[in-house]
């Protein structure tokens, strides 16, 4: 049976022939082998991270001479050193600014959280009105979003940079975030929110309307709280993506530095900082701690709410 026939019979519940029982020893072995491959894969993901963490507590000589072994002496000097050395100089119109770890952390949070929260909220707005209201333009906006999502338009990077410079969003983080945040009525995130709103019954809103609630009150007090886990999932994923972002700081924000950019620069020019290999490793650990903390709190939302439906329209 082809996958397409299987799909149809799955939908209709009609199957002409009883499917052969294929639960054999071979199938069991296949499952055990596949499970073992998954387990081994998980171990390979952990090895570099575990190696990184314990190596960041080594002395530099220990690291060079015994690259795999546990530290002979556990030292925290790499961390104190990297906190002192990790500074980035960025040129602004009115002079040279130095970004220390604190200001890089602030920039990272600012750049990771604000666009993620705004973008996800824009997704929620569009997801809500397109899923729950019939109005002129509904189908047009939905279909436009799908078309934009699947249509690969390349070569707009140069134009985007030119426009950012012309409009003043270049090297202006707040303006850039407010005027060109990610989110809206296209992309995977929109589909995720749209699908989530589709599953919420409208009867909650009708009950509130009987009690005299306005559309805005229904949205803010009833619908948004119901969609909050999905919103948190989107914000968390947007946060991780923004935390990761160093390319934007290379291209759009030449006078800012976030932690990802700082670490990127730090390891690339370690000699300039007179930094040892273990200090660079300690820098990586410092960079990953905040995103791990954020994920730790958002884990259950991401695990349960990250699902995408089809492209109807």
């Amino acid at each position: 049976m082809s996958i397409f026939n299987a799909e149809r019979s799955y939908k209709t519940g009609k199957r002409r022939n009883k499917v052969k029982d294929t639960s054999t020893v071979g199938q069991l072995i296949a499952k055990v082998v596949a499970g073992s491959v998954l387990a081994i894969y998980c171990v390979t993901l952990l090895i570099p991270v575990i190696w990184l963490i314990y190596s960041s507590f080594k002395t530099d000589m220990d690291y060079i001479n015994n690259i795999w072994s546990l530290p002979k002496v556990w030292v925290v000097d790499n961390y104190t050193d990297v906190l002192q050395k990790l500074t980035i100089k960025r040129i602004k119109a009115d002079g040279i600014y130095e970004f220390g770890l604190g200001s890089m952390l602030f920039t990272s949070f600012y750049y990771a959280l604000l666009p993620a929260a705004l973008g996800a909220f824009a997704n929620v707005i569009f997801g809500y009105v397109l899923a729950k209201f019939r109005f002129p333009g509904n189908k047009f906006i939905y279909n436009l979003g799908i078309i934009l999502m699947i249509t690969p338009i390349y070569g707009t990077g140069a134009a985007g940079l030119k426009i950012a410079k012309a409009l003043g969003t270049y090297d202006n983080m707040l303006a850039n975030i407010i005027l060109s945040y990610r989110g809206g009525f296209s992309g995977i995130n929109f589909l995720l929110v749209y699908g989530a709103f589709k599953t919420i019954p409208w009867s909650y809103a009708e009950a509130a309307q009987v009690d005299g609630a306005t559309n805005m009150q229904i949205f803010i007090r009833i619908m948004f709280p119901m969609i909050a886990p999905t919103y948190i999932c989107l914000v968390a994923m947007g946060f991780l993506s923004g935390w990761n972002s160093y390319e934007q700081f290379l291209l759009f924000f030449p006078s800012y530095a976030n932690l990802a950019y700082g670490i990127y620069y730090f390891q690339e020019y370690a000699q300039y900082y007179n930094a040892t290999g273990t200090e660079v490793l300690a820098g990586f650990v410092v960079c990953m701690i905040p995103s791990v903390i954020v994920y730790f709190f958002a884990d259950r939302f991401v695990m349960s709410k990250f699902t995408v439906g089809g492209l109807k329209g």
């Binding site: 299987a6 294929t22 998980c42 569009f126 291209l251 699902t307």
Partner: protein, 308 residues
């Protein structure tokens, strides 16, 4: 009475419209403004010639120049980028899909230790792909080289070796990318109605491959088709994290088309004279990939799952 009902309905409709248009106005206008501006500027750029002083004149030859850049330049880095992007695309989308789906199935079936495994496969995303790449850059050049040397393989500078580097980068891209896909497919599998699963079991469907074929693939086909459609348009522009691995100094033989474009935009800096040709090249890629996407969508709609 009838009129007042109509009046009530009309008031309700009016208040709905005010709410809907009011709430979407700002994000829609922001999008419209930037989307239109960027695309209009892109079209304009593709037909401009910009001199070193920033003066622009109309020039229709950018597409020819882009064509020459791709096909008539000896050892064209952009052509190398396309070929490598195709390789990246094949391995990350075509080759990895069955593996991702099987992993998702195992998580859905709650095999022993699935909670920990589900968490661990997200590690590259949780500690951030960027930091993971930074770690791997050090890890490949240090501990992994020592392992290779230990088994008698002399792989000096694996990230600068024409023989191995592209393979290592593609492997790394695949290896670090299972997390979100696994999560998405396993969550999609969770949404399959239990009564359908039960009925298939009664009909004799059991065993891993059988369940994947008869239950999971059909049950998650909407999700799969979304990703087939979006992935079908990226076959010329898929790439690994070259910027994180090499900054601006990647060896040409590992270029992806995306890296080439990024490099051009970064390198050009404030001098726009190189922008028109790369913009024209971008449009040429779009001309090739857009029909592929819509053909894929058409085929999936025609031969794939029905709406209901």
């Amino acid at each position: 009475m009838e009129r007042s009902k109509k009046q009530l309905f009309s008031d309700k409709k009016r208040s709905d419209y005010i709410f809907v248009y009011g709430i979407i106005a700002w994000p829609f206008l922001v999008w419209l403004f930037f989307f239109l501006l960027t695309n209009i500027e892109s079209i304009a750029l593709a037909f401009e010639k910009i001199d070193v002083y920033g003066n622009t004149t109309f020039y229709a030859g950018n597409f020819k120049d882009a064509f020459d850049l791709i096909f008539r330049t000896k050892d064209s880095p952009l052509m190398t980028g396309f070929v490598n992007s195709l390789k990246y695309w094949f391995w990350t989308n075509v080759f990895c899909f069955p593996i991702t789906f099987t992993f998702s199935y195992l998580i859905w079936k709650k095999i022993y230790g699935f909670r920990i495994m589900r968490l661990v496969i997200m590690v590259p995303h949780v500690i951030s792909g960027f930091v993971m790449t930074m770690i791997m850059k050090v890890f490949i050049n240090g501990p992994l080289v020592s392992v290779f040397q230990g088994v008698g393989l002399n792989v000096a500078m694996p990230l600068r070796n024409p023989q191995y580097t592209l393979g290592i980068l593609i492997f790394y891209t695949c290896w670090s990318s299972f997390g979100f896909s696994c999560l998405m497919y396993s969550n999609a599998m969770k949404e399959i109605d239990e009564s359908i699963v039960e009925s298939y079991h009664i009909d004799g469907v059991s065993g891993m491959w059988s369940e994947i074929w008869h239950i999971c693939l059909p049950g998650t086909f909407q999700t799969i088709s979304t990703f087939i459609i979006t992935a079908s348009g990226s076959f010329l522009m898929t790439g690994g994290p070259l910027l994180a691995f090499y900054m601006y100094n990647a060896p040409t033989y590992v270029y992806s088309a995306t890296y080439y474009f990024t490099l051009q935009i970064y390198n050009v800096g404030t001098n726009y004279s190189g922008y028109p040709v790369i913009t024209a090249a971008g449009f040429m890629i779009s001309f090739v990939t857009i029909p592929v996407v819509y053909l894929t969508r058409f085929l999936l709609n025609k031969y794939g799952p029905s709406e209901e």
